[in-house]
Point group: C2
Chain length 351, copies 2
């Protein structure tokens, strides 16, 4: 356990930390007194049927989800919906390697799967919030992985699902990309097998990790059209140093590695003995599959294959040369398309 002021109410709040008790994990270990950091927007209605659940992505927190995807007049309007953003385990706000006391913290934090997050969120919603229906689950990237897992695992609870830029079963290519992210960090001598005093000790590794995100996170067209200049960075070097590295440099290395492992092992087919088609057949939610056309590691073709296995699902690719990190919301056209699809989905009758 180490103190890391990056993960604070000042930076990511407001959020509430809720204990859901001991969480037994798929890999066999237990997170004792598992805490989930939760941010809410809007009000639960009397019928308790206006709930939107948003899980978070790799390195993201509830803050960016609220800032970029929730707002008055938007598809996810707090005036209409009770929006619950749950920070994934390992993201630094919920139970994570860096904030878990010894002997179970840091390098000893147990392996957590997408399914564990969804089981934890299910307990939070049903036992703490007393909610049994979700009008929509929507998330990007690892948030999409959780969205699929929700729809497969609790088909009678999830009325609509919008996985954005993510897959139900992680691909080999993504596995390999995430390997390089992990190696970038763990190869830094300052990482020291996961025992360090502060993220600053692992800055070189975190910077290499950030540069890899610079290559794969955006797209070839992002750079060809000099989007980094439009975003205020006069040169490639300044963009990498002052945006990409700056974004990741204060994050906790063990937290990132915990999430990377979870990302790599995301697979709804674990619910059906390895049969992906059978898993996706379980989904009853009205589903819009929303990849981003220039995404370099969750490409539309991977998402379309899965879409075809979900009854009634619609394939709704989003156009943005920002690629995967269009999720950050810097491209207003991306946000506009997301809102259009989500509005349409929310206005569709539940199946």
């Amino acid at each position: 356990m180490i103190d890391n002021p990056y993960y604070s109410q000042d930076n990511h709040g407001p959020y509430e930390v809720v204990s859901i008790g001991d969480l037994h994990l798929e890999e066999g270990e237990t997170i004792k007194d598992c805490r989930l950091a939760v941010a809410t927007h809007g009000t639960l209605n009397a019928n308790k049927d206006n709930v939107v659940l948003i899980p978070t992505w790799y390195s993201g927190t509830s803050k960016i989800m609220g800032d970029v995807y929730v707002g008055s007049g938007r598809a996810l309007d707090p005036a209409k919906y009770y929006i619950i953003v749950v920070n994934q385990i390992g993201n630094g706000l919920s139970s994570s390697p860096h904030n878990t006391p010894a002997p179970n913290g840091m390098r000893n934090f147990p392996k957590v799967r997408i399914g564990d997050d969804v089981a934890a969120q299910h307990r939070l919603l049903t036992e703490v919030f007393k909610i049994n229906r979700l009008a929509l689950v929507v998330g990007g990237s690892m948030g999409a992985q959780q969205t699929y897992e929700w729809a497969v695992r609790y088909p009678d609870m999830v009325e609509r699902a919008a996985p954005i830029a993510g897959t139900a079963q992680n691909t080999l290519h993504d596995k390999l990309f995430a390997d390089t992210l992990v190696e970038a960090i763990t190869s830094d001598p300052g990482f020291n097998g996961g025992s360090y005093a502060s993220s600053a000790d692992v800055l070189k590794g975190l910077a290499r990790h950030a540069t890899l995100w610079g290559v794969m996170g955006w797209s070839t067209e992002f750079y060809a059209k000099r989007r980094h200049e439009q975003l205020g960075f006069p040169s490639l070097d300044e963009f990498v140093t002052n945006f990409m590295v700056e974004y990741f440099r204060s994050m906790d290395p063990n937290d990132l590695i915990s999430m990377a492992w979870k990302w790599q092992h995301g697979d709804v087919a674990r619910n059906t003995g390895g049969d992906l088609a059978a898993a996706l057949r379980r989904i009853k939610a009205k589903t819009f599959v929303m990849p981003i056309d220039h995404d370099m590691f969750f490409p539309p073709i991977d998402c379309e294959r899965e879409c075809r296995l979900i009854a009634g699902a619609q394939f709704r690719p989003i156009r943005s040369i920002d690629g995967h990190l269009a999720l950050f919301g810097a491209d207003p056209e991306f946000i506009k398309q997301v809102d259009q699809h989500l509005s349409e989905l929310l206005n569709s009758p539940a199946t």
Copy 2:
């Protein structure tokens, strides 16, 4: 200078090493007694008009170019053409960091540009081989960069040009990707600022570099269609370890870094004060621009933009889910398409 048995006639021969004298470089330094390793196929005809020049790509040598692209009954048929494959400076066979004696070798090897290679090759062809016409220049990746440079710099000498999976002006995205390749190597403590006793000292860095190639070199569809299994590797890990890492592990780190810098700085617009359109307007060669549709870092759209700036150039994308490393020739459909395009190009009258 260190001994590295990887770079040998046994592994990459037969080739001949030809000295072209001192080579003054664009960056201001000089390679003394610059040596180019050259492999030839076929016979120069009496008119000296059947010459095909093939420059090499990053990490590649004349061996793979001969094995994969030259053959009886192929477009590049030694019975018809005199095919000259020139190993690029820094590739380990020609003058390179690892084979240059102190004090100019290893980390002190000067920065070499694509233009320097082309100037060196021009001297070799005109002064040693006494050749003044090239029926075709064809190369992949960094070989495409050299092909463009040839066509821009010596428009009256190059009758046809076929840049495959490469650009005339390197992109920012490629610059960043190559940065990650270099960082993967230089961050290995065994690299020691470029002073090591053998590649084995830098194995961890070379392995990380190889894994990055695993992500970007192939394509998302390559892994989705489990091409690595078709190629004889039962798992992703085995493919990475026994193919990707195995491929790079014996190469010289300083040699790779020298080539990476050259790749990053490739730009024909240096010939025209930074004006890319003006540079490409110089080209008189009949040009087929041949990107690979699933290439993750020389995508067709980047190549098409340049194609439109070349008078009479034809855009001939090649379909292969092997992505950039389709260049290795493991996809027979890739080879078939390359041969069809090259045959058509060679049978077209020079412009």
